[in-house]
Amino acid sequence: MSTPRELVSRALRAPDSLARLSLGDWDVLVRQARRAGLLARLHAVLVDQGRLDVIPAAARWHFEAAATLAARQQIAVRWEVEKIRDALVGLPFSPIVLKGGAYVIADLPAAAGRLFNDLDILVPRAQLPAVEAALMLAGWHPAPLSAYDQRYYRRWMHEIPPLQHVKRASVIDVHHAILPDTARHHPDSAKLAAASVAVAGVDGVRVLAPVDMILHSATHLFHDGELPHGLRDLSDLDRLLRHFADGTDFWPRLAARAIELDLARPLFYALRYVRHFFATPVAAEVDAALAPAAPSGAQLPLMDAIFLRALAPDHATAADAFTALARHAAFVRAHWLRMPPRLLLPHLFHKAFITPFERDPSTA
């Protein structure tokens, strides 16, 4: 059996190995996979490989129930995307659907067994007020947030506070960039929009071009402080890379675009950890191209110590004595990358000492 930290990733990359698990191992696997949002993905992989038989009878319903939910969510995602499109139809641009929503509408392998918490869209910054007004008219309203969080989003972030539909409870994150203004890296959103592509069968919305989709997924993963679905997002990247890498010039284009958009560092990490957890094939020339963006010799072992823990399922059975510390380090690092210190320190102070004592805004 692999280490408990790699139980889920091993299952995804080598389903045949599951035949050797004891019932006690399955108990842990199901719990970790559920926490990581990967139960339905694992089911999809086993269906693909014709290996559903490896699941012991006692555990089977967990996979079937998760697959049922995932299938239903994909129908809902398509529906919500059309509703968003309809709401924004009068505006002079097409919204770009990001991440999971894009994988579903573009029928990519990263949609298989994908579970959703919300939908992300990217719109031009100048159009934000019009977008927000149009979405509100269609029933999406800001979820209750404390005054501090409202200000934090509006002033510093690359997205507005999440909007929730009053009837269907679906949640949209509206982004105007893929990183905050305050971040160290400044990928140009206009370049992403210019390279975006139409979606077969879904008019009026676009998705990022393949290399940009990977860069965005990597950037999001390595700048997101909480990493609740780190392994799921890494598995998405694994599936996207295996799918897009068919094209002959894919790898050089990916590396060149990463450098052009100032996103070589997040791509470096994404490729490092996707290989570690999923043994994803990566062309050697990319490593060479990204070498200048790699962290210094002393920094890399530290990043490994953090990310090999923080990207594993956030479950007691996958944790060791350093996991809590590693997660906290990933959290602070993400904020460090997103904000300069003069903003970061007050923000972390507020989150540590004031937020826990604030009243829930929904009951205020």
Binding site: S22, L23, G24, W26, D27, V30, R31, R34, R35, P56, A58, A59, W61, H62, E64, A65, A66, T68, L69, A71, R72, I75, H315, A316
Partner: protein, 309 residues
Amino acid sequence: MKLMQLSPAALRRQLAGSGVWLRTGPFSVRVRSRLPQVAQGLADLYGQFETRSPIEAFADFHVEINPPGLLRRWLRPQVNFSFDGERPFKPLPLDQAYPMLEWGLNWCVAMHAHHYLVIHAGVVEKNGFAAILPAPPGSGKSTLTAALALSGWRLLSDELTLIDRATGLIHPLPRPVSLKNASIPLIQSFAPDAFLTRAVHDTAKGSVAHLRPPRDSVRRQHEPARPGWVIFPKWQAGAATTLTPRSRAETFLYLAQNAFNYSHLGADGFRVGTALIDAVDCYDFTYSRLDEAIARFDRLAEERHVDAA
């Protein structure tokens, strides 16, 4: 091995350590708790249920019911329910620990068991046919479920009706019946020999006590039943016992609205729901006297029995 075969000390030790593994209907649960009232509740109510060593056993739901941090132990003591490390609810006062465990287990099933259509309704069986009793809180659904379960009907569940999506059959989940407020003395006087836990007061639902599920219902907890009726009970002071047919379409809509996962199942939810409605007779039922209510239900079961024969 049955839970009652564990000594009270062994039960407490296991509960505080690796946890107690229990089978309830189609689900297995591993419960951990340091609280003596939780050990007492399990010993009182789950004695007839199968237990196993939690080591190397697969459990569907891993739950824990324990007080939060140290400070809270002295200052307004509270209790948390956690599902495999996540806390879906706000903490409750410590004396509600046992009811919170039962509510938490209901939540586990309602949120995860999408291989069933899970309807919020009591359900009892006689002669192979199940009577589904959906109703808003306060309508006397649990009271009637308890009284029927103590009068020769088999308890399938007091809260969660599990419809197998593949077969349309109803799977039992005969856990303790949660009785509220006036139902507690009512069931006590209706069946003085039945075991009820001491009532916990001032919960979100008022006073709550749990009725131990009848031994025969637990023994047959793996035996599914065919859907026979959907009956909306309504307790009304002084009312005569009346059973009136009810529209199937309306009943379907109500069930769909009161199924925890109807919308999660998509088109299959509709298919399972309509197959259920096609198989049952639908009624409204008003009553004030439990003995008359049970006699009326017995007659229904008898008629169905004759029809089926």
